[in-house]
Subunit: 407 residues, 2 copies
């Protein structure tokens, strides 16, 4: 939690930290400023002190919403830092020690800044931490009730929109080729569906910031294929619908997946979906507070391997079919954050009280034209119970309202 | 244009370039890949050769849409580069020379990567260019017809949505305090309006990726205030509505501003709006192909100074009122790109055939509770004519349908 920052700085032996970039699509900056339309900012915080926020003078009113000490500059915060790297550090009375550097920024600007800082301030050591091991990832790993309520709100928006999509799809006409046909006679494409998803999310104050996955048939067999916009929806094909919207302007995410087959499913697809659901259920039944997240990845791999599928723990190299990824991940201002579940992760990836995480087993068979994933997001509550943050049914076959098998 | 890249690499004496980060919200990467859901990518291009795109194996299908040489890696492109910085450069047969580094990335990852590259490859000089002077900014500065058509499409979506907002606002009821009241009896807030904007944009395949500005009264007096979400809309207050949506998933932007006063305007506000419009018209009448963009900033400053306002050319320090910014900027995959109009800009910021640019004079008086800006986007066509990319009326006072002055 945010209140852990000073303690984490102590543990990591950091005397100060700086965060660079804009305030909205930049999780460490958003975490400390609460967002706002501040496009060019430098946050600087000494251990145990309130942060100062340097910004372009034009953006000072937006910056003031952060409640931090706002310092407007005529040329902008990063321009000021590049022009005279010593000045801001002298103003903040930082002359020696270890300073962590964070944020998201243009690569060239970062290189110029770090070169300028190192040259101008040889008595300061600038520390770069890998994102997944950083101070912020440790602080953000546990969430308080107010943060979780924001995730829950995104969860409610998500399942409402997923319900609207299901309702919409199952209400369409079907032609002789088993393609879905809109009321205007045009075939229904993935792009049509995605436009509706974006609109329905927007109506609920949620943004499809990273673009959802709505992948059909063979595309569903690639975990990260987002789907081909021109593809026409057809009955009896697997649809992997993975939706991860966030609050507008860079806030908290939700993450959710269902796999559907419209009208009917082939027996092979139904059976693979049943396997994924059985493994999902097994994991959920076994969720324990403070457990090692990697143990559930191992459980999942063992369960899938037992059923004859490849897994990253039982097979070497790049997997193109079977269970090809890890079980889940933390969720918050980043779609992916701590804890991680990869079997190669460090042993401090635990389901501590306060973590918000996904559970998302899947099976992928692109050569058979199908893929499957089921995903929900959970909060490990302070009382040690794992709370499902948004409920939604797990049905695989969605019956069509205007079409019957063999009709 | 993209076809200028090899020539620009020659001019800048670059033997190769690398671009880091994801493919969507990362303009140089988007420019070369065409987007796609590739979250962890490394693009490497030698002068005169087609680029290679390293990606996480899970994202290879998305990466393949780029048409580039796709090289999947088990740990992801940036992980591969960090683990063994020499390998990718050896694979690409790059052993010496000057390599430009571009993209948008986590600050710490960038620092670690550049340190690792410099240590492992001492015979290669890694070049960081400031974003506004970079190879990509020069290439992107001029657009072909296909790119402009995408900007035009965003322009059409923009003015349609602006029209819907005007229609919606003027149709509301008004209470005795001259506040707008929704059909359910609740006062109409800026957040309500922004939710509608997001929805109406989404329906048109446009995304409010950076969040629009809808700033009322005193907030309108700060060029970059996005408006207070809880503020209730009132008659007779200036509204600066600056909307800059982009194609979904990181494509081309449009940029547009109108200033409105609902129901009526104070004579002072009407007169200031008339001044901004007169200056806007004067600039547009004088637009010439190949002209120095800075000349129009000078013209604008002179026009405003003549009328008694402060300007960045006539006054020192941080301006908090008057005409406080520059006249316009290039527009494309970035909301702000070349050419620039600041009077301190380099002399190669010209309205060359192919540039897409904004013209946006404004006046700001926060202490008087008002601000004004008028902005349109133009394309300097190959035939030397400046084409307005989306038409919309310039009315300041929007009459309310259910309310009359002194009613």
């Amino acid at each position: 939690m945010k209140s852990d920052l000073d303690g984490l700085m102590q543990t990591k032996n950091l005397d100060a930290l700086i965060v660079l970039g804009n305030a909205e699509k930049n999780p460490p900056m958003y975490y400390l400023t609460g967002g706002g339309h501040v496009s060019d900012a430098l946050l600087i915080k000494k251990r145990g002190e309130i942060a100062a926020l340097y910004c372009n003078a034009m953006e000072r009113e937006e910056a003031a919403k952060s409640g931090l000490r706002v310092i407007p500059t005529p040329v902008g915060a990063l321009g000021e830092l590049l022009n005279d790297p010593k000045k801001i550090f002298a103003d903040q009375n930082i002359h020696t020690g270890r300073v962590g550097v964070y944020g998201t920024l243009d690569v060239s600007v970062t290189i110029r800044l770090i070169d300028a800082l190192r040259a101008a301030l040889p008595d300061i050591e600038f520390i770069s931490e890998m994102p997944h091991e950083s101070l912020f990832m440790y602080a953000m790993e546990t969430k308080d009730e107010a943060e979780v309520e924001r995730v829950r709100r995104m969860g409610r928006a998500t399942v409402e929109v997923v319900g609207l999509v299901a309702e919409f799809l199952t209400g369409q006409e079907v032609n002789a080729r088993e393609e879905l046909i809109q009321s205007n006679g045009a075939p229904l494409t993935i792009q049509d569906v995605k436009n509706k998803i974006a609109r329905w999310l927007a109506e609920r104050g949620a943004a499809d910031v990273e673009g959802c996955i709505f992948a059909l048939g063979r595309d569903a067999g690639f975990p990260h294929s987002v789907g081909n916009p021109q593809d026409i929806l057809k009955l009896g094909q697997t649809i992997v619908f993975d939706i991860f919207p966030a609050e507008e302007n860079g806030g908290y995410f939700y993450d959710f997946t269902r796999t559907w087959s419209l009208g009917y499913a082939t027996p092979e697809a139904q059976s693979l979906h049943d396997e994924v659901k059985a493994v999902y259920d097994k994991v959920i039944e076994n969720l324990d507070v403070n457990a090692d997240f990697r143990e559930y990845q191992k459980l999942t791999c063992d369960e899938f391997a037992k059923r004859g599928h490849k897994t990253p723990m039982h097979n070497e190299g790049i997997l193109t079919e079977g269970y090809v990824h890890s079980l889940g991940h933390g969720l918050g201002l980043n779609v992916h954050e701590r804890p991680g579940s990869r079997h190669t992760a460090a042993d401090d990836n635990r389901l501590k009280p306060g973590v918000v995480f996904t559970i998302e087993p899947g099976l992928y068979y692109p050569e058979r034209g199908m893929g499957f994933r089921i995903e929900d997001s959970y909060w490990m509550r302070p009382d040690g119970k794992a709370e499902l943050l948004a409920e939604y049914p797990y049905d695989f076959v969605l019956p069509m309202k205007k079409w019957k098998k063999n009709s």
